[in-house]
């Protein structure tokens, strides 16, 4: 069933609280992302029910509608046409949304913005490192080949010079010149400084500086001026390999200085003054203050994080909390820790926790996908689960698990179990940003990793299977009663067969405004030749009237059909009608339902034209009248 993109876009637009409420619109792979002036003005329930919208959630100030890969871009194009807006990039939307956020959230978001764009570099290096190391282990002789040395050099490049990559990315995020940012990053790993990785090794220090004290020499910019034992302006001559936080802070400061100078310095001399001043001030601040303070701080954070993930109860808690940070959009901050671990030359021991969390959401989502019976939910849950198994959990979390809450919680429990196992076994990865199945390429122990996946995914799957029950969308008392009546009754195709012999016309031609307008649903009218109504399909009588002139039948796929004999015949109060069924009766196609007297209807001054309308035809995208003109009882007239 193909989606009508235009209709979908129009319906979405109609529930957004008017054109003036829409600030910006963009889309990503699966979602239509909207920034609205006032999120409370939208009709969420109606939006969720728009055909084509698989889910709705609010995140980071945006309203996001899950529409699906390959579809969202088409709906988006129509949406632009409908609203008369111009296309916004994802970044524009993010920025517009960011303006609505509190400062601490903006700061965390910036961290994510710095580390997410550099993922390709990290993943390329990490995967290559994983493969090279795996080959080295599998074929011991490989480790001594030139190929190994060459590939090893390529693979560790991104990590050896990570501060440069971070600096460029940070300069872009914080709005500075990226080349000046690169200079700051390069400066921090300058070959004239002792490599940051060798700070702890006296031999390396002695060899590098040609000394025998084992102490890193300093540059004292202001002589021996001291406050207490601290020498003011003293710079330890080592680089910042293995650090990312000091780099980010340094570049942030650089951007502040640069932007401020651009404003103050006359344009004529801008090029001579701004770059050199920016670099000089930033370098001074970086080596004297930012570097020493934040590299120490980062060491503590990393030590803390490493301790936490190696300490099973700590890992358990982190595993359980991880999905919540995904929902809040804060999970990219972990990249800082992961990047820190990697650039310090260690394995990324955070990755097993992220994998456990992601794979548990996969398990929970898969359970929903297999267990659920609503086709619409299935088509969301199964692909979302697959995507989650590859490490992209947003569709599973937002589209399925978080919506029903129980699967999400089951996923948290699965994540906790998997994360604890990861902490006990102490496995680690050679990259970050790669979890789930692709994680096999970067993990140091595939066997244990498999067990971890099974634990996290399995626990979440089984728990979800047990505790989650599919709920019909807000059942009313009436629907529950109907559901009970329907139990096991109706399955099959959505086909309607002529209930009366006569001349079939489209419902627009019925001589009554209400029926013709389609407000009661789409369908046909029949000018009867015989005064007998037969059941148009197997179903359950869902309503009758005392005046016996109308009957409602619920059939396969929840078709709700109204057969209304004659126009205004309600006024005949049952005279000339005979009803053979009562509410709740199961009927078979062709069974007699109502007998009526055509002549009596005509004599009373009414048209005997009988409306046969699918009252919920809106729910059937493929609704189609397949036959009009002369029909016999049992001819196929409507397919839906």
């Amino acid at each position: 069933m193909a989606l009508d993109y235009r209709k979908c876009a129009e319906e979405i637009y109609s529930h957004l609280g008017g054109r003036e409420n829409i600030v910006q619109a963009a889309h990503c792979a699966t979602r239509l992302r909207l920034v609205l002036a006032d999120n409370s003005k939208i009709d969420k329930k109606a939006l969720e029910n728009v055909d084509g919208v698989k889910g709705l959630f609010e995140s980071n100030g945006q309203v996001q509608l899950i529409i699906g890969t390959g579809t969202v871009n088409k709906v988006y194009d129509e949406f632009l046409a409908v609203t008369g807006m111009s296309a916004a990039t994802k970044d524009d939307v993010k920025n517009a949304a960011a303006a609505q956020q509190p400062a601490w959230k903006r700061a965390l978001k910036s961290v994510g913005d710095v580390f997410v764009p550099i993922l390709p570099a990290i993943v390329a290096s990490g995967l290559m490192m994983g493969v090279v190391e795996a080959l080295g282990k599998a074929i011991p002789s490989f480790a001594s080949t030139d190929w190994y040395a060459f590939l090893d050099m390529i693979a560790n490049t991104a990590f050896a010079f990570l501060p440069v990559i971070v600096a460029v990315s940070a300069a872009r995020v914080f709005g500075g010149n990226i080349f000046l940012g690169a200079v700051i990053g390069l400066m921090m790993v300058h070959t004239g400084l002792l490599n940051g990785w060798n700070v702890g090794s006296e031999d390396a220090i002695n060899a590098f500086f040609g000394i025998d004290t084992g102490v890193i020499p300093t540059w004292n910019l202001f002589g021996n001026f001291k406050i207490g034992s601290y020498v003011v302006g003293s710079i330890s001559r080592h680089g910042y390999q293995g650090h990312v936080i000091p780099v980010m802070i340094a570049v942030w400061l650089m951007c502040k200085i640069e932007k401020w100078l651009h404003k103050k310095v006359p344009e004529m001399i801008d090029l001579f003054v701004v770059p050199i001043t920016t670099v000089f001030l930033t370098a001074l601040a970086t080596f004297v203050v930012i570097g020493p303070i934040f590299s120490t701080l980062e060491n503590y954070v990393l030590k803390g994080a490493e301790w936490l993930v190696q300490f099973p109860p700590g890992a358990m808690v982190m595993g359980a909390l991880y999905p919540i940070t995904v929902v809040m959009g804060l999970h990219h901050m972990y990249n800082v820790i992961e990047a820190g671990m990697l650039s310090a030359g260690n394995l990324n021991t955070w990755m097993p926790i992220a994998t456990a969390a992601n794979f548990a959401q996969f398990g929970a989502c898969l359970a929903v996908g297999i267990k659920c019976r609503q086709a619409k939910l299935k088509t969301v849950a199964i692909p979302s689960a697959l995507s989650a198994s590859l490490g992209i959990t947003e569709p599973a979390i937002f589209g399925v698990n978080f919506r029903f809450m129980k699967p999400f919680v089951c996923g948290m429990i699965g994540a906790a179990c998997g994360a604890m196992f990861g902490a006990i076994t102490k496995i680690g990865a050679t990259a970050y940003g790669v979890t789930g199945i692709p994680g096999y390429l970067t993990i140091n122990n595939a066997g244990i990793y498999t067990v971890l996946l099974l634990i996290a995914g399995g626990v979440a799957f089984i728990l979800t299977w047990i505790v989650w029950k599919e709920e019909a969308p807000e059942p009313t008392v009436e629907e529950i009663q109907k559901q009970e009546a329907l139990e096991g009754a109706v399955e099959g195709e959505s086909k309607i067969y002529a209930p009366i012999k006569g001349n079939a016309i489209s419902h627009e031609e019925i001589p009554d405004d209400t029926f013709a307008s389609g407000v009661l649903g789409a369908g046909i009218g029949i000018e009867p030749e015989e005064g007998m109504v037969y059941a148009p399909y197997d179903g359950v009588i869902s309503s009758t009237t005392e005046t016996m002139h109308a009957v409602g039948i619920t059939g396969a796929n929840d078709m709700e059909l109204l057969i209304h004999v004659g126009v205004d015949t309600v006024n005949m109060k049952g005279d000339g009608f005979e009803l053979f069924v009562k509410e709740g009766d199961k009927v078979k196609k062709g069974q007699k339902l109502i007998k009526f007297d055509i002549d009596k209807i005509k004599k009373a001054g009414y048209s005997p034209t009988t409306a046969v309308l699918l009252t919920n035809s809106d729910d059937f995208a493929d609704f189609k009248v397949v036959k009009t003109g002369k029909v016999a009882v049992g001819d196929l007239v409507v397919e839906a």
Partner: protein, 85 residues
Amino acid sequence: MKSFDYVITDEVGIHARPAGLLARAVKALGATVTITKGDKSADATRLMALMGMGIKKGDTITVSVEGDNEDAAAEEIEKFFKENL
């Protein structure tokens, strides 16, 4: 949520046509309207459910309105009932 009681005055109660008009009016308002009679209740946009309640002249029904701007919506709905039912 806002609700009011209403006594049906229309000779034949809520049959197909008024049910259809009601469904249309409710859809236009964009609010959720639930009709209750005794222990039965139905969403006002669900035609068959509404007709299945068999609401007749003299019956007292409770109409509850939920959604944005429900005060205005409830007024509109009440007006609709007075004019049509």
